[in-house]
């Protein structure tokens, strides 16, 4: 039904969202203030990307579409017969990153990996980020997320869990994730997260054609009925997915998803939310800090914008924003939809043993769109 909607659902805070924000303000006023300031920062031309922190790539799964697989020790050992000797980040590095991020007004960290909940120092990482200064989120495949673990996460300052669910068909989810029993663990983790008062997002990967499937509609219904957001990530031709170019979506898939957003609690990183319209969120909305302190502009682009041991976070972000691929506002996903960028990325990352490709060899200050 066509409507002339003035600020429809994406911009209006629901009572539940309002309650969450008020709760956060009561517990963590400094974090709430920073989050509330993001719109004003954007109006001034400043950015406040979410920082994805990949301290460790250790994982108990081996998913078909994993974007981090090529960063993992097991991949380097198996494919390249090498051991990555690069210096890895430690807790002091994370404290310094947290400090620099706070100074720039950045407010959100996602601990990712690998599977964060297998990290022995997970609690120490949360402490190093400082949950009183930053909104802390963790990704997880849900395998270890039972009631006790969920309560523990909440107690150490984690606010939100992003839980991967790749099909509403149990066998398909388990096959996609190469882990029998994982679907049941996700269902358990949903209940555990909600029971513990954690904010919860379900995260799923959209491969070509899936948006039209009854299974995907079931997942949209499931998330909406549970009052949980369903975050959809397009399959990108990077990591393990490099071997599955058939997964890469077409515009039709993205447009079907845009229509589903009207009826279900489903969204992508490019969905307008609460008045923020970033389009492709590279640098503007997200960055990834890898285990070697390199910064990439999104989880799926394996080109570095700089290493935080050599370059400040402020300058790394400035490099990203002045890059013609990354800085300007655009409505599509460059690594998931733009054939020219996908080709460029594939060529420059092919056979690279140590990802990401360093600053100057992938991205540089001389990049143009038309070379």
């Amino acid at each position: 039904m066509t409507t002339m909607a003035q600020d429809t659902q994406p911009n209006k805070l629901t009572p539940a969202e309002l309650a969450k924000r008020e709760g956060l303000r009561a517990r963590k006023p400094y974090v709430a203030d920073k989050l509330a300031a993001i719109t004003e920062m954007e109006e001034r031309g400043e950015i406040s990307p979410i920082i994805r922190l990949e301290k460790s790539y250790l994982c108990n799964f081996q998913c078909t579409h994993c974007s981090a697989e090529y960063y993992m020790d097991r991949h380097q050992k198996k494919v390249f017969k090498i051991k990555d000797a690069r210096r890895k980040i430690d807790l002091d590095d994370i404290r310094e990153l947290s400090r620099q991020a706070d100074e720039l007004g950045l407010a959100r960290f996602v601990i990712t990996g690998g599977e964060p909940l297998v990290m022995k120092d997970f609690d120490a990482v949360v402490e190093a980020i400082d949950p009183d200064k930053h909104y802390v989120i963790t990704d997880t495949n849900g395998w270890f997320l039972d009631d006790a673990k969920a309560r523990h996460l909440k107690s150490i300052g984690v606010e939100k869990v992003q839980l991967s669910l790749d099909s509403m068909i149990e066998a398909d989810h388990d096959a996609f994730r190469n882990k029998p029993g994982s679907y049941k663990k996700v269902m358990r983790a949903i209940d555990a997260s909600l029971n513990a008062g954690l904010n919860l997002l379900l995260s799923t990967v959209l491969i070509k054609g899936r948006a039209k499937s009854p299974e995907f509609l079931d997942m949209c219904r499931f998330a909406t009925e549970r009052n949980v957001g369903l975050y959809v990530s397009y399959a990108k031709p990077t990591g393990s997915c490099t071997e599955h170019p058939e997964f890469v979506i077409e515009k039709e898939d993205a447009d079907i998803l845009r229509e589903l957003e009207k009826d279900y609690n489903v969204f992508t990183h490019m969905t307008p939310t609460y008045g923020s319209f970033k389009g492709c969120i590279t640098v503007k909305g997200i960055i990834t800090v890898t285990s070697t302190f390199e910064v990439t502009p999104c989880p799926y682009i394996d080109f570095s914008l700089g290493n935080l041991r050599e370059t400040s976070l402020k300058e790394v972000l400035a490099r990203g924003m002045r890059n013609p691929w990354l800085g300007p506002y655009r409505p599509d996903c460059i690594i998931g939809e733009d054939p020219k960028f996908i080709k460029l990325h594939t060529e420059k990352t092919r056979g690279v043993t140590h990802l990401p490709v360093p600053w100057g060899q992938g991205f540089s200050d001389t990049d143009t769109l038309t070379d």
Binding site: D7, E43, G275, P328
Partner: protein, 260 residues
């Protein structure tokens, strides 16, 4: 110098070529964001414009003739010939005199786009995401020549063509560029861009790629470095406001208007 010896102003795809600009514009375009050339149906455009913007007193035949004459004149001049290779959107505006640009845009022209879009595409939606009150806040960018459109509207109904040909320009560059173009080119603003979308509501619909965002470049917003625009969201249409910071982007388009 013979005018015909001057270099063309538009490329073979209709893009107004950036030249001698101080403000940023991308020198070359890879044409990644683009508008599919719409089928021109003068009767349908005339009917939609009449229904959603009001009667103009101009008959369909006259509307079509004046648009064709305008295009013929552009084609005949070697400097402007290229613009005819790009997207041209005929529009019709009834006589009107508005004391407040922002109020008229928000109360009359944007709703007209919404209704035209709803009628043409009942399965999709038009959303006005703008939260700012525009009444009393908007003006005409000095040097845009957009005031000539308003003067023409005060005198009677206006026939024109909208050309989304300032692709990949910053807004300051679009403003700079129009000042160096022949006198018949006006920078498009709120009324003409809206009229183009009323007549051709599917202008930004694409299934095989992404269309650009259309700035209302001749509109001076309430703050410097902020602008208003129409943008597709999938098969839906939106209106919104955002800072542009004087930057150029591959996704950004401004338009030229020629009156017929």
């Amino acid at each position: 110098m013979n005018l015909n010896e001057l270099p063309p102003l538009f490329d073979e795809h209709g893009r107004c070529m950036p030249a001698n600009l101080n403000a940023p514009a991308l020198a070359q375009s890879r044409r990644y964001f683009g508008i599919t050339t719409p089928q021109i149906d003068y009767a349908a455009i005339h009917a939609r414009s009449t229904e959603h913007l009001g009667g103009s007193g101009i008959l369909v035949d006259e509307f079509a003739r004046r648009c064709e004459n305008l295009m013929h004149a552009l084609r005949a001049d070697s400097r402007t010939h290229g613009i005819s290779k790009g997207v041209a959107v005929p529009f019709l505006l009834p006589r009107a005199e508005h004391a407040d640009y922002g109020e008229a845009l928000s109360q009359r022209y944007i709703p007209a786009v919404a209704h035209a879009f709803a009628q043409a595409f009942p399965q999709y939606s038009f959303t006005d995401h703008n939260k700012n009150v525009m009444a009393g806040q908007l003006g005409i960018a000095p040097g845009s020549r957009h005031e000539r459109l308003l003067q023409a509207m005060q005198q009677g109904p206006v026939v024109g063509c909208y050309f989304p040909c300032l692709s990949e320009y910053s807004l300051p560059a679009a403003l700079e560029r129009v000042q160096a173009l022949p006198e018949q080119f006006l920078l498009a603003g709120g009324y003409d861009t809206s009229a183009a979308l009323v007549g051709t509501p599917g202008l930004l619909q694409r299934t095989d790629g992404y269309p650009p965002l259309l700035w209302l470049a001749a509109v001076q917003a309430e703050k410097p470095l902020v602008g208003y625009y129409y943008e597709a969201y999938g098969y839906n249409l939106t209106f919104n406001r955002r800072p542009h910071f004087g930057q150029a982007a591959e996704y950004w388009n401004s338009g030229l208007t020629v009156l017929g």
